[in-house]
């Protein structure tokens, strides 16, 4: 079986579980609303300053929601040792990583469908003209973050110190991608044309390819022995 087909089956299984319980979307969605609301109440002073504050609140929300979502997604694998159903199957180990990354990305994008408009409303940012580049930035930033966090969450199958590992390894690794995304979003909100942030998008795209490639390579070894 090809890596992509196996990865799709793994992702479908996660989405099937989530559609049944809606546990991850509910908890992460509510958390996103809370963070953006608190952020806007705490930092909003006037429409001008909101343009510089909003990118920070947006990306901090995405970061926290992503961590919450990915942690829960891998916790489902640890329950009953269910992940061994995947590890016993004749599929490449990298397919498990790719499948988990894909399902987490789809769920995070679903949460962002709520998060991004909410952020624009609360910080009184006019969406016309920035919607498409903003969505592209959010997508590219999310891919980089999810691909890295999924990889290190998979290590959590074998270690009790999974939360520590996430914070110690994931945050420093994704910091460059998140910083690039936050700076590009700030430029966009400040009125930069799409052409001016294409360079940031390229950097984010390069990060994404690097993280996914690294994830595929490393997951073969990380998931080889449990």
């Amino acid at each position: 079986m090809s890596v992509l087909r196996a990865a799709w089956l793994v992702a479908l299984k996660d989405l099937q579980l989530e559609l049944r319980t809606k546990e991850i979307l509910t908890s992460t969605g509510l958390f996103a609303v809370l963070v953006v609301t608190l952020g806007s109440l705490a930092f909003y002073t006037d429409p001008v300053s909101s343009l510089t504050v909003a990118p920070g609140v947006l990306w901090i929300s995405i970061l926290f929601c992503g961590i919450l979502l990915i942690g829960r997604s891998w916790a489902l694998e640890r329950e009953n040792d269910a992940v061994f159903a995947l590890l016993l199957a004749p599929i490449p180990r990298s397919a498990i990583y790719l499948g988990k990354t894909l399902s987490a990305l789809i769920l995070l994008l679903a949460v962002e469908l709520l998060l991004v408009p909410l952020c624009l409303i609360f910080f009184q940012i006019e969406p016309s003209g920035i919607a498409m580049p903003l969505l592209a930035l959010v997508f590219l930033g999310s891919v980089g973050f999810v691909s890295t966090a999924s990889l290190f969450s998979s290590v959590g199958i074998r270690t009790q110190a999974r939360d520590l590992m996430l914070s110690v390894l994931v945050f420093p690794l994704v910091a460059p991608a998140l910083l690039a995304a936050a700076v590009a979003t700030r430029e966009l909100f400040a009125g930069a044309a799409t052409a001016e942030i294409v360079g940031w998008m390229r950097i984010l795209g390069a990060f994404d390819l690097l993280f996914i490639g690294f994830g595929i390579w490393v997951s073969r070894h990380l998931l080889a022995e449990t």
């Binding site: 089956l9 099937q16 329950e79 061994f84 159903a85 016993l88 449990t226």
Partner: protein, 218 residues
């Protein structure tokens, strides 16, 4: 690609977890159409041996051969290995049938849904196959776990305490099933604490102590 084999052999097999030696150099051979029961006290290395044979862990020393193949061909070999673990390894949020369909698809079995349905019916799981596993008793979940190990007609069937949680009728049915697997030509290896069960189903019984084979009875 599915790889087939007629025997499994281990030579000098050892496994350490840090300073703890779980398996201390085991030499064994398992042939197609035989049932081997492994007994021993807790920590004697029984389950470790199964995990190594299921390729869920790498040996620290020694070698495992699946016919002509080594563990370097893991993906092709996994297609011929079924494993019933002590932890049932089922997704609690999915139904028994959905767990089986997922495994069937991952094993690339044609008509995965039909195969899962047929097996559920054959093993008497039809009463509860559409309920989520979370609502199952231990015995019901155990039967689904056994069904999953049989989905792809494995050559090597590994079972860790398969009779746990089963009632008398289900245990008798499990014995019948193990006999069927033997006749099909499977290599069946069962870890069990239940001497009576082991005596009833096995061609030979291995007694393990401190990571070594202490006794072999046929």
């Amino acid at each position: 690609m599915k790889l087939d084999f007629e025997e499994v052999s281990v030579a000098g097999l050892a496994k350490s977890y840090g300073p703890t030696l779980a398996l201390a150099g085991v030499d064994l051979r398992f042939e197609a159409g035989t049932v081997t029961a492994i007994q021993g006290a807790n920590g004697s290395g029984k389950s470790t041996l199964l995990w190594l044979l299921a390729m869920l862990a790498h040996p620290t020393r020694g070698e495992i051969r699946y016919g002509a193949y080594g563990i370097g061909r893991a993906n092709g070999l996994r297609a011929r290995i079924g494993f019933v673990a002590h932890q049932l390894q089922l997704y609690p949020g999915l139904s028994g049938h959905e767990n089986l369909v997922l495994s069937a698809k991952l094993h690339d079995i044609p008509y995965a849904e039909k195969r899962a349905t047929d097996l559920c019916e054959a093993l008497g799981l039809a009463d509860y196959w559409n309920r989520t596993v979370r609502t199952y008793s231990r015995g019901q979940a155990q039967r689904v776990s056994i069904a999953r190990a049989l989905l792809h007609e494995p050559r090597l069937l590994l079972m860790d305490e398969p009779a746990t949680g089963l009632d008398v009728e289900s245990t008798a049915s499990l014995m019948g099933l193990i006999e069927q697997e033997r006749q099909r030509g499977a290599i069946v290896i069962i870890v069990t604490h239940e001497a009576e069960f082991a005596g009833a189903v096995a061609d030979r019984i291995l007694q393990m102590e401190r990571g070594r084979i202490a006794e072999l009875r046929t």
